[in-house]
Symmetry: C2
Subunit: 358 residues, 2 copies
């Protein structure tokens, strides 16, 4: 009773040709009002739903892109929102988004990398949004497949020729420069930067920090740690080291919010108050900040915007395969909250009165 109804059935019932039905379905202008209405009525009557797969086969398009999250076992809040941005933009174009998680060894040669079937086969995908943490071998393997792709740039390792890529970035360097400058304007001078310079993204952070410091002829202070699993724990450890640097040290720029929260936790545990004793700024504006007091001053990154820009760029590329490589950057915004203040406030509690000359 509930059989599959095809375009042929509609044509038969309406007493017209299959092509006429197709024309009606696709809103072509060259059909008489009368046949048009008859066909539409039948379509509604039998609740006909066209088969998109057949359409896609003929038109040689998948109407689908893939969001691939590489080398992350969980989609973190940051990437979650990037995905939402991609999905939202795709939706405005009535395109689908396949979500896929994938792990690969950074050192496997591109031609040995076994890519997910959905990418390797033809027909399933029009293009690819490459997110997560990435290495050149994967990018090159995808390139060899000749499938259009865009990449989320910030978590890219290795010296890829960025000018050969379509990529979207957020401004890690500019953002950290902004937050560092803000601290300097508050009157801080002894500002430390806590990062892991083996990671390009933290390196860009550090660069931004350096730019601000150098411009004000302040001395650079870097605490360079190795972050593997938990940026938070790295922050806690870092805090211990900062303890010895007090009270000269008056402000800390952390590579991201999670590190900053670790620092905050570590400082609190040792009786150091933020922002009274030390000012602290993070980066990203992650969701979890709302759970912690003082509210962290940070650099806001519009993650959904990044997703939207990734999708937008990919669809532009699908429209025009010869689009020259572009690198787009999403700007950032300083969010002043509670973890930063003018320096010296806390020293008063030690019985010292300090004049701050700024």
């Amino acid at each position: 009773m509930f059989e599959y109804v095809s375009i042929r059935d509609i044509a038969r019932r309406a007493g017209v040709g299959v092509s006429t039905v197709s024309r009606v379905l696709n809103d072509y202008p060259d059909t008489s009002q009368q046949t048009r209405e008859k066909v539409l009525r039948i379509i509604r009557e039998v609740n006909y739903r066209p088969n998109s797969r057949a359409r896609q086969l003929v038109k040689n398009t998948a109407e689908t892109i893939c969001f691939i999250l590489n080398n992350r076992d969980v989609i973190n809040p940051f990437h979650s929102r990037v995905l939402m941005g991609v999905a939202r933009y795709a939706r405005t174009l009535a395109k689908n988004v396949i979500f896929m998680q994938f792990d690969y060894p950074p050192d496997a040669p591109p031609n040995r990398l076994i890519l997910p079937l959905v990418i390797w086969e033809r027909g399933a995908l029009d293009g690819l949004v490459i997110a997560g943490t990435n290495y050149p071998n994967f990018i090159n393997a995808v390139k060899a497949l000749r499938i259009p792709f865009v990449v989320f740039g910030n978590n890219l390792f290795g010296d890829l020729q960025i000018r050969d890529l379509h990529s979207v970035w957020f401004d890690n360097e500019g953002g950290t420069r902004k937050s560092t400058e803000y601290l300097i304007e508050l009157g801080h001078q002894n500002i430390w930067c806590l990062v892991d310079t083996t990671k390009p993204w933290y390196r860009r952070c550090y660069d931004g920090y350096c730019q601000a410091m150098e411009q004000h002829q302040l001395r650079l202070h870097k605490l360079d740690v190795r972050i593997e699993d938990s940026p938070f724990n790295a922050g806690v450890e870092g805090a211990k080291q900062f303890l010895h640097l007090q009270p000269q040290l008056s402000a800390i720029v952390a590579g991201d919010d999670e590190i900053a929260l670790g620092v905050l936790s570590g400082l609190n545990q040792n009786g150091v108050r933020v922002p009274d004793d030390i000012s602290l700024v993070g980066f990203d504006d992650i969701e979890g900040l709302k759970f912690v007091r003082p509210l962290l001053t940070t650099i806001r990154v519009d993650k959904e915007k990044i997703g939207e820009e990734l999708a937008k760029l990919l669809f532009e590329l699908l429209q025009n395969r010869d689009l020259p490589p572009v690198k787009r950057t999403v700007s950032t915004e300083l969010l002043v909250r509670e973890s930063s203040a003018r320096p010296g406030r806390g020293l008063g509690s030690n019985g010292l009165s300090i004049e701050v000359v700024s």
Copy 2:
């Protein structure tokens, strides 16, 4: 130079029929070793990649399911992990997962609901994992489409006939019973439950709480709030009310972790210490807990497991469309951390010495 190679090209080059190539591609046993090798060699030579869309059209399968996140503007950490679970399970079966976000009004009749195209059309999907917050109208609209689906049960509104549905749940009731019993065993008697009973999931929480309390013949205490946007803020507000109930009140069972963190923050702001003055337990074991001290005692929910069970059930259903409706429940686990302790500890700080008789 890099033209599209089809199965026909392979056949021509190998000097065999198209069906033979197909048989080789699909690893059918009935091909001679010799032709087999010849075909495989050519396939490798020209780097042939079959077109999955054509295969799907013939075999009438999409090899794809859809994870639809309803009525949530962001994929929160909980649902993120459910999605990961779905994706991981699908991957073991070489199936794709389309991610889609969708909003709909709870009160639109099912036949007026405009479903996403990918669901409404044929061919794009084999089945649907329905996640997010849901109402009967959507479920019924999907039902009318005759597309196999499974639903994440916990955030379902309205009195759907659960026994007509394929659903996966986590044990909200049992979990809260467990955490309440744990508090009782610690010696707490005046235990409050903070929930929003207009939401079925919090109601189940409250039921679990009641079961534990009644079994020990303790008096029920409910703080019933309306939670719209921010469970955290609801927790902060709730904390203010709890202040008046001290010191009789000695423990709080919150509807979920985010509420609990709000309570914690609210109590802290008012100088009430957790767990010294009040013990506090949450539910979910969300990611963000790690940022907050004391570490919250909570009920762990294996979110990826939920995702896996959803996918597993859906694929079972695709194998056997007559599978009778089942409701599967993922169990929970009590995670004792730092926010809970024996009652009365804190009273000592008021100069009182209390003997706890348990």
